[in-house]
């Protein structure tokens, strides 16, 4: 199914679908089930994998070189910094 096709069926613009796909636009929860039904998939299969509160806070290759307590410290600081900024601007 094309973005335009899906957009037409659920009454949204193609641009919105494109934005939702790459994570630029947030959607209300009910829309997830509507989109999943149109695509004939489980809603969960459309969600990003993993725990967003811990994943991708710091790139894995950078973490791997640190001691466990340093990994924890770095993750805590980066997460708190992002919370304070009020944005989740990581890759995830």
């Amino acid at each position: 199914m094309t973005q335009a096709g899906l957009a037409r069926r659920i009454g949204m613009s193609r641009g919105s679908i494109a934005n939702i796909e790459v994570g630029r636009q947030r959607i209300p929860l009910h829309l997830l089930t509507v989109i999943a039904r149109e695509l004939d998939v489980e809603p969960a299969s459309l969600l990003p994998v993993g725990d967003p509160s811990s994943a991708d806070v710091v790139p894995a290759d950078r973490l791997r070189r640190l001691l466990p307590e340093d990994q924890t410290a770095l993750q805590k600081v980066v997460r708190r910094a992002r919370e304070q900024r009020g944005v989740y601007d990581g890759e995830g």
Partner: protein
């Protein structure tokens, strides 16, 4: 070492500080650095992390205010002096490294400490304050250190090292 101190002096002039105690958080925000306090493993004193567009200094909230101030100043030192390192993690040390340490990372720690010392305890201010205190000829060495530490809002230990490095200790 000279560069560490001149960079600290330049930064103080830039932020138009008004004498001790130095507002280290204001200096961080002048540099658009976000300071975050978190309870961290006690072996960790602080860190400097370049997170995409953002520069973050993390400080261990379990440590005392005076120690945290020094940590922030130390991390600002890494930021100003050691460009291009995405992550610096600093650990608690019993003693400051001595000047004979030779690895690159030791050298960077020494530079960051020298920067932090000059930022929080600017040479001229310390000399003036010490002279004033010594006008009281009965004052003890411990009292001088304690009084200066309070004035500059640093630990007694940091002030004692500062006095030694400025060659003021023997007068105290």
């Amino acid at each position: 070492m000279a560069r560490a101190e001149s960079e600290a002096t330049r930064l103080l002039a830039e932020t138009a500080h008004s004498g001790p105690p130095i507002n280290v958080e204001a200096i961080a925000s002048h540099l658009r650095v976000q300071v975050v306090e978190e309870k961290l493993d006690r072996s960790v004193s602080g860190m400097l992390y370049r997170d995409g567009q953002h520069v973050v200094i993390g400080v261990n909230s379990a440590h005392s205010v005076r120690r945290r101030r020094f940590t922030i100043a130390h991390e600002i030192g890494h930021l100003v002096l050691h460009k291009g390192r995405p992550l610096v993690l600093d650990h608690v040390r019993v003693n400051f490294r001595d000047a004979n340490s030779s690895t690159a990372s030791d050298l960077e720690e020494i530079q960051a400490n020298a920067f932090a010392a000059e930022l929080l305890m600017p040479r001229e201010h310390v000399i003036d304050a010490t002279k004033r205190l010594l006008e009281d000829r009965t004052i003890t060495e411990a009292a001088v250190i304690e009084s200066l530490a309070q004035c500059f809002d640093v630990s007694d230990q940091a002030m004692e090292y500062r006095l030694i490095n400025l060659g003021l200790r023997r007068q105290v």
